[in-house]
């Protein structure tokens, strides 16, 4: 048994104070350390009552009194977390419990109550609880989940929010081998690379990626991953967070989409302004020039000559306006509904309308629509596209060569294509490529039929319905136009 002195010094070292209670006289003695803690008060009343009224926090008075009595009378175990007012007037947390006497309970003379300062750990506990609260609220609000992959034992851990994001049952345990199933196929490679790099070289990642929910719904997430090292600095796991950004991402994509539409409309407006500026004005300026010359001219013959010019201008003006109308009508027919249309049928309409041209030039047209028989499109557009490209192919045939035009449709990577190839004169794309689809561009000299508007309209029609058109060509060999619908 340690002497009181030794005991005291040990207890003080651990910041533990105590009471000694004489069970017969009910007299309470405070240890020196306890006295020190509460500031050596001068006590005139009962020591216990003083403690209850001046040191113990009011919240615990009632319980403390009852348990204290039970400790003295019945020797019941006493264990309490209480707040005591210290000499500086501040409350601190203490754990208060009795020192158990071993064995001879009947011979009890004294009871000992220990007061252990637990303020720091209590505070830590509160901080942890508080932090956990903020973490959980943040995770819920931003729908951000946490995950961990044990790369050594091949295990996956998801927290509740992660499970909620993936839409799986609360008790679902994802299997390591299946981990790729939760990512969209097109992103498997990206994901694998990120995991592998992190696992093998400790490179963290931050990705925006498409996941697949338990119900097979695809959605966008932002995913971060950082390596976890053991003491030997080997990667033993990857952990990170997972945030559902589907709404944001969709908004972003919609925004981009709107932006694209606005950009194309804007460029069409520019084209429109360009036509007005270059082509309508040229006729009106000719007219005013004629008027000026009419004023100057002296003989009737001169005047008649000029009047003949007026007739020409009128004809040109009429042409220009009807072309302008072609371009504007691309806009208005956009409101038309797309319908299922068979290529075969559109082709028939087109061939019938240019049968005389085909016969005159003895052109051979081969059309293969087996791989893609029909599309949803605006029929007038499809016909106009076919008509423009076929007549172009015939118009720019290689002199002396029987024009052959090969037309086919097909599907590649879920996309629908139309290709029109010819064996015509071809065009030097290095020189003219970027102007190919521009307006009023004709590249072949001495071709009076060339109006330079056909390809411009074709491109506009294709793009108005969200497709693209490209061209490849070799001079003297032929040209291929490829349309992705």
């Amino acid at each position: 048994m340690l002497s009181d002195l030794q005991l005291n010094s040990i207890l003080e070292d651990f910041d533990i104070a105590y009471w000694k209670i004489n069970l017969f006289s009910k007299e309470i003695t405070w240890s020196e350390h306890f006295n020190l803690l509460v500031g050596n008060p001068e006590i005139h009343e009962d020591r216990f009552e003083f403690f209850i009224n001046h040191i113990l926090h009011p919240d615990y008075r009632y319980d403390f009194r009852i348990h204290f009595e039970q400790l003295i009378k019945e020797n019941e175990a006493f264990s309490f977390e209480i707040k005591l007012k210290l000499e500086n007037g501040k409350y601190r947390w203490f754990e208060c419990k009795n020192l158990k006497n071993k064995g001879h309970s009947s011979l009890r003379e004294t009871a000992v109550l220990l007061f252990v300062n637990i303020h720091q750990s209590k505070r830590d506990q509160y901080t942890i609880e508080e932090n956990f609260f903020y973490y959980r609220e943040t995770a819920e609000m931003t729908s951000t989940g946490g995950w961990y992959i044990d790369t050594v034992h091949k295990n996956i851990y998801w927290d509740d929010v992660s499970r909620k994001i993936v839409d799986c049952p609360k008790d679902f345990q994802p299997a390591y081998e299946d981990r790729m199933n939760f990512y969209a196929k097109e992103h498997h490679n990206r994901m694998k690379n990120a995991f592998d790099k992190c696992e093998n070289y400790g490179i963290p990642f931050k990705l925006e990626i498409k996941m697949v929910s338990f119900q097979n719904r695809e959605f966008w997430v932002r995913l971060t991953g950082k390596p976890v090292y053991n003491e030997e600095q080997e990667v033993i796991g990857i952990r990170g967070v997972l945030q559902n950004i589907d709404d944001n991402k969709n908004n972003e994509l919609n925004l981009q989409n709107s932006l694209d539409i606005i950009a194309t409309q804007n460029s069409r407006l520019f084209n429109f302004a360009h036509i007005v500026s270059h082509h309508l004005r040229s006729h009106s300026s000719n007219l005013s020039l004629i008027v000026e010359l009419l004023r100057e001219s002296k003989t009737d013959r001169d005047k008649l000559d000029l009047l003949a010019n007026v007739e020409d201008v009128a004809g040109n003006l009429d042409n220009a306006i009807s072309r302008l109308n072609d371009i504007v009508s691309i806009q208005t027919s956009l409101k038309k509904e797309r319908v299922r249309i068979k290529f075969e049928e559109a082709m028939e309409v087109v061939l019938a309308s240019i049968s005389s041209l085909i016969n005159r030039e003895n052109a051979k047209i081969v059309a293969e629509f087996q791989d893609l028989k029909e599309i949803r499109y605006i029929p007038e557009y499809l016909e106009s596209i076919l008509l423009n490209l076929i007549t172009n192919a015939i118009r720019y045939r290689q002199p002396g060569r029987k024009p052959v035009i090969f037309i086919q449709t097909y599907v590649e990577n879920d996309k629908e294509y139309l290709e029109i190839s010819d064996n015509g004169m071809g065009i030097d794309l290095e020189e003219y490529g970027d102007k190919m689809f521009g307006m009023y561009k004709s590249f072949h000299q001495n071709n009076p039929e060339a109006k330079g508007i056909g390809l411009f309209i074709t491109k506009n029609q294709v793009e108005a319905l969200g497709g693209t058109i490209s061209v490849s060509s070799t001079v003297n060999i032929g040209t291929t136009f490829k349309i992705q619908f």
């Binding site: 302004a273 360009h274 500026s277 270059h278 082509h279 004005r281 040229s282 009106s284 300026s285 000719n286 005013s288 020039l289 004629i290 000026e292 010359l293 100057e296 001219s297 000029l306 010019n309 020409d312 201008v313 040109n316 009023y440 561009k441 004709s442 590249f443 000299q445 060339a450 330079g452």
Partner: protein, 138 residues
């Protein structure tokens, strides 16, 4: 009227416009002779031939009226090519861009070429034509 321009050159694909200008030049006796090309390439070929054969410099025009929108080779392309050979042509040539375009971007672009004296918007009044020819002849 004092001196007269010896040789003027019009590069323009608009037949009506060319005819009208031709008439003006005849009526007002603005130039002795006139070269007419319907696109940039035809004109360029002519200049290149003179340059290569070092033929008579009298065959080079004193003044060029260049349209912008033309098939085969437009006015811009012509300007880019003409810059390269201009210094080798042994004659001072005044060049005007003449277009019906009122697009300010065209104006700015044309004026960015040093060899372009001015940008004229069609229609050009008769009086303006006379002034331009007088200035060039002087």
């Amino acid at each position: 009227m004092g001196q007269k321009v010896e040789l003027a050159c019009i590069i323009d694909d608009d037949k009506i416009y060319v005819n009208l200008v031709k008439k003006i030049i005849e009526i007002k006796k603005l130039s002795e002779n006139l070269l007419i090309y319907k696109n940039g390439k035809e004109a360029l070929d002519y200049f290149k031939e003179i340059m290569e054969n070092a033929t008579d410099e009298n065959k080079l025009p004193d003044i060029i009226f260049l349209d912008l929108n033309m098939p085969v080779m437009d006015g811009w392309e012509f300007l880019n090519e003409f810059i390269k050979i201009k210094n080798k042509l042994n004659k001072k040539i005044t060049l005007y861009v003449v277009s019906s375009s009122i697009d300010p971007r065209d104006l700015e672009r044309a004026r960015s070429f040093n060899l372009v004296t001015d940008y004229l918007i069609k229609p050009i009044e008769l009086k303006k034509f006379e002034k331009i020819f007088e200035k060039t002849a002087a």
